[in-house]
């Protein structure tokens, strides 16, 4: 067991941290958020130049061949900077379907475009009644010659407003809730019958509602087995959860650092508030939660590319639940210790708090994953 970064990984981490520190401060971020797109095309290009878009793809497909550890490094850095760009939607979610579900031809066509930053992707899955249940898909896909025709509506599609192409789950058979009969289709965002309405999310990111009315896609739009792609979806979502966990670690670490700084400078009753034992212990509780979140993220990272779907899922349930409860503890304490100033838009801590809150409702909240883990039999079997 070895927790050290390789030299390449250290370089990646240091250069990304430096880039973000130099170019993506809180004020810059506010400007990007206020822009029409809600994020920075300039920053996006810088990520591409650094190779972040190419990172997780295999070298033979035009990528750099990074693995879960590299993704963890990038996502933690982006979390620390509260980056707004559609990296997670494009590279982790969309890129996940490409990597794990794409044929050689599909990869050859698209990976280079993603790698150079010119193609943005998204993943449209949530529907009105699905909540956090990945099998609850009602959008329909009907075979039509070689191709397919999709109809239905999808909600809260992260960065669905700016994506060029969108991975869409649709039911090719069975009923909502069935494990089989779900297909994954890559849809051009400008295809006929696609309409979308973009909006900001609570944390300042962007999302869209997506409507598909008889949207025709060709045979090469199919990723994985069109009648049995839920395992692919689960695999992509599991990797996404590992990545989100890393982002969360970046965000809560940054929140903690802000809180400690504030405790040292803010005075009340003639002393820095960091002198009050109750606040000290609250800061320690945050610290413990962060270290635990970091540890479980390492575990999720280690399991992210496991082929054992059951064990991989358990690790992600554990990570998402721990991130959820730890994130809430850190966020609520950070706001409480900051007092009123933490409640204002002008101060970064509230933005981290909102991001953590939204991470919890993405891909299943704390309760959802705690239950899923309980149903799966827990983390430690007799042999563990």
């Amino acid at each position: 067991m070895d927790f050290d970064l390789t030299e390449e990984q250290s370089i990646l981490k240091d250069s990304l941290d430096r880039l973000l520190a130099d170019t993506y401060g809180f004020e810059e971020r506010k400007r990007h958020m206020a822009s029409a797109e809600g994020w920075s095309a300039e920053a996006w290009n810088r990520y591409a130049e650094m190779g972040l878009m190419a990172l997780p793809f295999a070298e033979e497909d035009g990528g750099i061949g990074g693995g879960p550890v590299e993704t963890m490094i990038v996502m933690e850095a982006l979390g620390k900077a509260l980056a707004l760009e559609p990296y997670f939607a494009t590279v982790i979610l969309g890129g996940g379907f490409l990597r794990l579900g794409g044929s050689a031809e599909q990869k050859a066509n698209l990976v280079p475009l993603v790698a150079e930053g010119s193609l943005k992707l998204a993943f449209a899955h949530t529907e009105r009644n699905s909540r956090f249940d990945l099998a609850r898909v009602e959008t329909k896909a009907r075979q039509d010659g070689d191709g397919w025709v999709l109809s239905g509506s999808k909600s809260v599609v992260l960065h669905g407003d700016c994506a060029d192409r969108i991975f869409v789950t649709a039911r090719t058979g069975g009923a909502s809730g069935d494990e089989t009969g779900i297909g994954v289709f890559l849809v051009d965002a400008n295809a006929e019958g696609v309409s979308r309405r973009g909006y900001a999310t609570q944390d300042g990111l962007r999302a869209a509602e997506l409507t598909l009315e008889n949207v025709r896609v060709a045979a090469d739009a199919v990723y994985g087995d069109p009648s049995d792609a839920l395992p692919l979806v689960r695999r992509v979502v599991d990797q996404a959860i590992a990545a989100l966990s890393a982002e969360a670690v970046g965000a809560i670490s940054a929140m903690h650092a802000l809180t400690l700084d504030y405790m040292k400078v803010r005075k009340q009753f003639g002393v820095p508030i960091g002198a009050f034992q109750v606040l000290q212990h609250a800061a320690v509780d945050m610290y413990v939660a962060i270290e635990q979140a970091r540890s479980i993220t390492l575990y999720a990272t280690m399991m992210a590319d496991s082929d054992d779907a059951a064990e991989r899922a358990k690790a992600m349930h554990a990570a998402k639940a721990e991130i959820g409860r730890g994130g809430r503890l850190v966020g609520e304490n950070a706001i409480q210790i900051h007092g009123g100033v933490g409640m204002t838009m002008e101060y970064a801590v509230g933005h981290y708090f909102k991001r953590m809150t939204m991470i919890d409702v993405a891909f299943g909240n704390t309760d959802h994953h705690m239950r899923a883990l309980a149903r799966a039999g827990g983390l430690f079997d007799a042999a563990a």
Binding site: T126, E127, R128, N129, S130, R131, F132, D133, R136, S153, S155, V156, S176, G177, R197, Y199, A200, T201, Q202, D203, A207, E209, K267, Q268, F269, G270, F276, V278, L279, E332, I335, Q336, G339, G340, G342, M343, T344, M345, E346, G350, H351, F353, K354, T357, M358, V361, A362, N365, D367, R371
Partner: protein, 400 residues
């Protein structure tokens, strides 16, 4: 000991309910149910309806327009108001400066201001907090220097709720810089139209624009707007803050929110069934309900003790429990209401955004849930943070 409401109290409750049913503007009620911000006009209209009915300032002495209700009736009235829900009259006038004026003010001040407060002819805001003085209020720095018939005020106030609408602000100002921290503070009433006052909004993380900074530069305040004696303002502030703590449990509001959670969890689906049928979800709700039921009894015990002691305006220090538990419950319910929304907690839709009148899968009750959760973090911070409340209990109740 008889823990039931008397027949008279039950009849009173019915009377209050009927009045709300017949008189609360439906538009205002709907905004509250949906978790939206109220406009100035919602408050003005409703306060005048209440005042016309004689209920503008129920808890004031009868001579100033009060109803003469005993504390139990006042509690019933407030609970029903919060549960309906109807807007609670803004505290700055009726709960804060009003009682200070009728207790410590001059006859002229009473005569001029009190009726205008009851009718919301004057919108008041509170000028206590300063950037450097949060929980440690007494370290405030805003100066008032006597020049002839005026005080000249310079300084900055912050966290000033709804100052953008205010006609008047009541301020704590330092009139003696040589005195010890709590001494040398005075209580001034300042007309917001006076030259030298600038209000700048502070946007909060929920997107709300309720709080402000107020800058005072050479603001000339007539000496007759001093309340009570110069340099005794700290005493009046303590009196005021003591009043503030009694209403802060917000039992009725939490009951209303629990009903809302139950209703909306009946609409949101989870695993093919309404979320409200999920046993774990129900257990979380039940856990909060138990705490709330206990707190309701705790509140009633404080009310009954107040009634026995006579309405001294000095709450039992034990009533800090109401602040602590009340805020915890408000925060737990706003969080749970957000949880109801699942992924639909994410869309941020500014209120009254017309584009959203078009059909959308985002349920119209969802977008306010997360902002309300964010916003309600404030209830364990303001009015003396929960840490301060615990310090108070430790010292005043437990003798530590």
């Amino acid at each position: 000991m008889d823990l039931r409401f008397t027949d008279e109290e039950r009849a009173f409750r019915e009377e209050v309910r009927a009045f709300f049913r017949d008189n609360v503007p439906e538009e205002t009620r709907t905004k509250m149910v949906d978790g939206e911000h109220l406009e100035k006009d919602d408050f003005v209209r409703w306060t005048r309806i209440l005042n016309a009915h004689g209920w503008g300032v129920p808890h004031w002495p009868v001579e100033y327009g009060g109803t003469g209700w005993d504390p139990m009736r006042q509690y019933i009235y407030l609970e029903e108001l919060q549960k309906y829900p109807a807007p609670q009259p803004l505290p700055f006038g009726v709960n804060m400066v009003g009682p200070v004026i009728y207790t410590f003010g001059s006859d002229e001040q009473k005569k001029h201001f009190l009726p205008r407060i009851a009718n919301l002819d004057d919108w008041w805001c509170q000028g206590f907090s300063e950037p450097g003085a949060g929980s440690d209020l007494a370290s405030l720095k805003t100066r008032a220097v006597r020049e002839g018939d005026h005080y000249v005020v310079n300084g900055q106030k912050t966290w000033t709720t709804l100052a953008q609408y205010a006609d008047w602000i009541f301020c704590l100002v330092r009139t003696d810089t040589d005195a010890k921290k709590q001494e040398g503070i005075s209580f001034l009433l300042i007309d917001m139209k006076t030259p030298g006052i600038e209000v700048r909004p502070i946007v909060t993380i929920d997107g709300g624009r309720e709080i402000n900074e107020v800058f005072l530069t050479d603001v000339r305040v007539p000496v007759e707007n001093l309340v009570g004696q110069e340099n005794k303002g700290w005493d009046y502030a303590k009196f005021l803050l003591g009043n503030e703590r009694t209403n802060i449990a917000r039992i009725g509001m939490s009951k209303q929110r629990i009903a809302r959670i139950r209703e909306l969890a009946g609409k949101e689906m989870s695993g093919g069934r309404p979320l409200i049928e999920d046993e774990r979800f129900r257990e979380k709700l039940a856990a909060i309900e138990i705490d709330l039921k206990a707190l309701e009894l705790t509140q009633l015990r404080v009310v009954a003790a107040d009634a026995k002691r006579g309405n001294t305006g000095r709450p039992d220090p034990a009533s800090s429990i109401l602040k602590i538990k009340g805020s915890e419950i408000q925060q737990a319910t706003t969080h749970l209401l957000m949880e109801v929304m699942g992924p639909y907690a994410a869309p941020y839709i500014p209120e009254h955004d017309d584009r959203w009148n078009e059909p959308s899968d985002v349920p119209d009750y969802a977008p306010t849930a997360a902002p309300n959760y964010f916003n309600f973090r404030k209830v364990s911070i303001y009015g003396g943070s929960n840490e301060i409340q615990k310090n108070i209990i430790a010292k005043a109740v437990l003798g530590l």
